[in-house]
């Protein structure tokens, strides 16, 4: 298990950027093919096949797709409800595609929110996610404890009038660490998660537990530590009366003393970031 970019050196990050772009390209390609009547399962399969055709053989987790009020995790009680269902897409419905492919040993984990047709509420949610991206980066650079940053994100969501929906994820995480994954010929999945990636996460959890940090960024006490160097897949997820939206991308945290270099988003050329830039230009 080679540890990823602690120094944030571009050469080390290239592979991760490449797979993240690939995943977002997949999300955009699949989103463009979504039509009324497509089920969540079909959308998830479309993502899997698209990436398989481009050489992805292993996953941190298999692709998810959520439609309609499932984008806000309405009524989710057990983790099994995350898995794609037979829910069909209808005009005006929001959707979220979420996938975490492993490619050439590098992991990506992305979330893509869209809507079939027009929905001013969904547009608003997407616009309001920008403040969260700024807040997360700013406070990580300030080296604030992860638990505190989590609470600040929570408070911002409350001010915006939204519900925190990443709270519904396992352990309520807003982010988790990702890393290099050894390429094996056979990499089975367990409950939708790749066993190789899970092993990495588990070993991080074990080491972290000894040293007082956790690879899971949660609202709980075990996240009461400053940001740890490495790659974090950050996924703030907001819900508002049956409509949900999120983004998920990799935040690079390094040991550098220069604040600019101590934390930065792996890539700024992503659909949601481009969208905000376009809106500002307009």
């Amino acid at each position: 298990m080679a540890s990823a970019a602690k120094s944030g050196h571009p050469a080390e990050l290239r592979g991760f950027r490449e797979v993240q772009s690939l995943a977002y390209a997949c999300a955009e390609a699949v989103a463009a093919q979504l039509a009324p009547g497509v089920t969540e399962r079909e959308a998830a399969r479309m993502q899997r096949e698209w990436l398989y055709r481009r050489g992805v053989r292993d996953w941190f987790h298999l692709p998810f797709a959520w439609f309609g009020d499932r984008t806000a995790f309405e009524g989710f009680k057990v983790p099994l409800q995350f898995f794609p269902t037979g829910r069909r897409l209808e005009p005006g419905m929001p959707f979220i595609l979420d996938m975490a492919p492993v490619f050439k040993g590098c992991t990506a984990d992305i979330g893509y929110s869209g809507v079939l047709g027009l929905d001013p509420v969904h547009d608003r949610l997407l616009d309001d996610l920008e403040a969260h991206r700024d807040l997360l980066l700013r406070e990580v650079r300030e080296r604030r404890p992860l638990r505190e940053i989590y609470q600040d994100v929570d408070a911002l969501m409350t001010r915006q009038g939204y519900a925190n929906r990443h709270r519904a994820y396992p352990f309520g995480v807003i982010a988790h660490k990702v890393d290099r994954v050894r390429e094996r010929r056979w990499s089975p999945h367990l409950f939708g998660f790749g066993t190789q990636a899970l092993k990495g996460l588990a070993s991080d959890a074990l080491h972290g537990h000894r040293d007082g940090w956790s690879p899971l960024w949660s609202p709980y006490r075990f996240s009461d530590h400053p940001p740890r160097a490495g790659l974090w897949a950050v996924e703030p997820h907001i819900g508002f009366r049956g409509t949900g939206a999120k983004f998920e991308e990799i935040l690079v945290v390094t040991d550098s003393r220069d604040p600019e270099q101590s934390a930065f988003w792996l890539d700024d050329d992503l659909p949601h970031v481009r969208r905000w830039a376009e809106e500002r230009a307009a």
């Binding site: 001013p120 608003r124 001010r159 519900a163």
Partner: protein
């Protein structure tokens, strides 16, 4: 015998040997709204609605044949068939709006006959929209009865018997001579009093002096049509125009279930419900004028972009109504504002926090509110509240639903609670509610067209606790105030509900004051309480749902969370157990 409609221009329209008295208001160049009255009424029943619509539309009213100052057919028998009434309508429509379809509005028998107009082929293209109030199509009614007779499930049988009982007067009107004698005799002279007492129709210049002959002639509306249509209802009675159905929920003569299957007859149906009795044109003119105006405008000018549609469960009840919520920048207040917005209500979001209130108003507009405004006011400030009430009345109108929600938390032993602490909590929690009820409640009462006041009390109002003496006292005050006010306003059609949420996950915990401890300790306890409430995690959205239901059902007290409901039950049957709980130390 003079008309009581101010500024109306009168004319006579001839049709099939009958002279109809037609009144017009407003600019004839604007869309024509044609108001048809019921039984035993004349066109003057619409006076208040007509004058409210006249500024925006060309409003036309006419006395149905045999009523008011229109002449009666001779002989009366066979002179009131729906076919002849349709001739009358077409004659009036051609006279007042040649070449342009009219927007039809009918109440009671006016609606019954308008259903005929809007479902027969010969009027196609002459009707742009139809608003039906308290009057079903006899054909639909016939099918409704047949369906329930042919397969009488318990529910259907109950519906049939229920409507059968409500239709008692229809049977009486079919007896020969007696109804005429009654109307020309004692019933005619007592009718205004009966209307006032039983139907809450305000006294004044209505009914007009033609009541006795209106009622006597109008009996033939029933005799000429009811039996024949109910026996052999038309199978093709489909509406060829968009229909808005306004159902008064307190109607003594018509069951709400009559309209259960209406979508099959009227494919473009908008439903509205109104908590009022049968004579809504007299008792709720503001609401009717607003819904009619909105519906007509929507048909005239559909607009290029589909507007955000109200999708809420109670959209029929709250669409277009004005709802004011205090403490609307977060928690229960914000969730309640959103729930009303989803039901199509116009929202006034009041809070001390300008940014939060503005945000609530902005999001409310996104999810279905036709219009929403933010107002920055501290509810404990008497003068500011008075100014707010004036501003709201002048700019937005009279509030239909008032939600007094703003409140602050205060915990600590009685002896640690300072006079300042007491003042603060009573000023916001109790005086804020008093000001709201006093100012906006008065506006509602003065308008005399109903409304609803919701006061957010708390389960602490009946669950004592050594940790919350001041807070519980303030909330018990709110609860009792609500009960007293409910009794006082019951006769005016204004409902009052007290809501007792219980432990709900909102920001009140983070802003609560803890008396008798240091600032650091207070912060620690706020955090701890917020965490505990977070673990309980009862969402404010559910309280908002309970609030809307409480308004719809006009409930006196609504305890929301299971613990609040349990405590309410214990307070009645086992108050000792609550006293035991009151002694417990809070886990902070």
């Amino acid at each position: 015998m003079s008309t009581v409609i101010e500024g109306a221009r009168e004319r006579r329209v001839l049709t099939g040997g009958i002279e109809l008295c037609v009144a017009e208001l407003g600019d004839p160049g604007r869309p024509t709204v044609l108001l048809v009255h019921g039984y035993p009424d004349s066109k003057e029943v619409w006076a208040d609605v007509a004058t409210r619509l006249a500024a925006r539309f060309h409003v036309v009213l006419y006395d149905v044949r045999g009523h008011g100052r229109s002449t009666a057919p001779a002989p009366l028998r066979g002179g009131f068939t729906l076919e002849k009434l349709t001739d009358d309508f077409l004659a009036v429509a051609d006279a007042v709006s040649p070449g342009k379809p009219v927007h039809l509005v009918g109440h009671d028998w006016g609606s019954v006959q308008s259903w005929e107009f809007v479902t027969v082929p010969r009027t196609e293209g002459r009707i742009a929209s139809f608003t039906s109030i308290s009057g079903p199509s006899l054909d639909h009614f016939g099918h409704w009865i047949k369906k329930r007779m042919s397969r009488p499930t318990p529910r259907r049988a109950a519906q049939l018997l229920g409507q059968g009982a409500k239709s008692w007067y229809v049977y009486l009107l079919h007896t020969p001579v007696l109804p005429e004698l009654a109307w020309r005799g004692p019933l005619g002279s007592r009718w205004p009093k009966i209307l006032q007492r039983m139907e809450k129709v305000p006294a004044g210049d209505y009914p007009t002096s033609s009541l006795r002959s209106d009622a006597a002639h109008g009996a033939w509306l029933y005799r000429d049509n009811v039996r024949s249509r109910l026996r052999r209802p038309r199978a093709d009675a489909y509406a060829h125009a968009p229909v808005q159905l306004i159902t008064p929920t307190g109607d003594a003569f018509l069951s709400e279930h009559l309209y259960d299957d209406l979508e099959q007859w009227a494919p473009q149906l908008t439903r509205r419900t109104l908590p009022a009795k049968h004579w809504v044109p007299r008792t709720r003119p503001d609401q009717l004028a607003s819904w009619i105006g909105e519906f007509v405008t929507a048909q005239e000018d559909p607009g290029p972009v589909p507007r955000t549609r109200a999708t809420g469960k109670h959209a029929a009840r709250f669409g277009g109504q004005l709802v004011l919520v205090t403490g609307a920048a977060g928690g229960i207040g914000r969730a309640t504002a959103f729930a009303f917005a989803e039901s199509g209500a116009r929202i006034v979001a009041v809070d001390r926090d300008a940014e939060g209130a503005a945000r609530t108003a902005e999001m409310a507009r996104l999810i279905g509110s036709p219009d929403a405004w933010a107002e920055v006011v501290d509810v404990s400030d008497e003068q500011a509240m008075e100014k707010l009430a004036e501003r709201v009345a002048a700019d937005y109108g009279t509030v239909d639903v008032l939600v007094n929600n703003a409140g602050v938390g205060l915990s600590g032993s009685f002896f640690d609670t300072t006079v300042e602490d007491w003042k603060k909590v009573l000023d916001v929690n109790l005086w804020g509610v008093i000001h709201g009820c006093r100012l906006f409640g008065r506006q509602m009462a003065d308008r005399g067209q109903g409304g609803h006041i919701v006061n957010i009390a708390s389960a602490a109002a009946y669950q004592p606790s050594k940790a919350l003496p001041a807070y519980s006292t303030s909330k018990a005050g709110v609860l009792m105030l609500s009960e007293c006010l409910r009794a006082e306003l019951a006769g005016q059609g204004i409902g009052v509900s007290a809501i007792c949420p219980g432990f709900v996950n909102t920001n009140i915990t983070s802003t609560a004051r803890f008396a008798g401890v240091s600032a650091d300790e207070e912060k620690r306890r706020q955090k701890k309480t917020a965490r505990l409430y977070g673990l309980r995690n009862y969402p404010p959205e559910k309280v908002a749902e309970a609030i809307l239901s409480a308004v719809v059902d006009n409930r006196a007290i609504a305890a929301v969370t299971p613990e609040a409901r349990t405590a309410l039950l214990l307070s009645r049957f086992a108050p000792k157990s609550l006293r035991a709980i009151a002694r417990l130390e809070p886990p902070l």
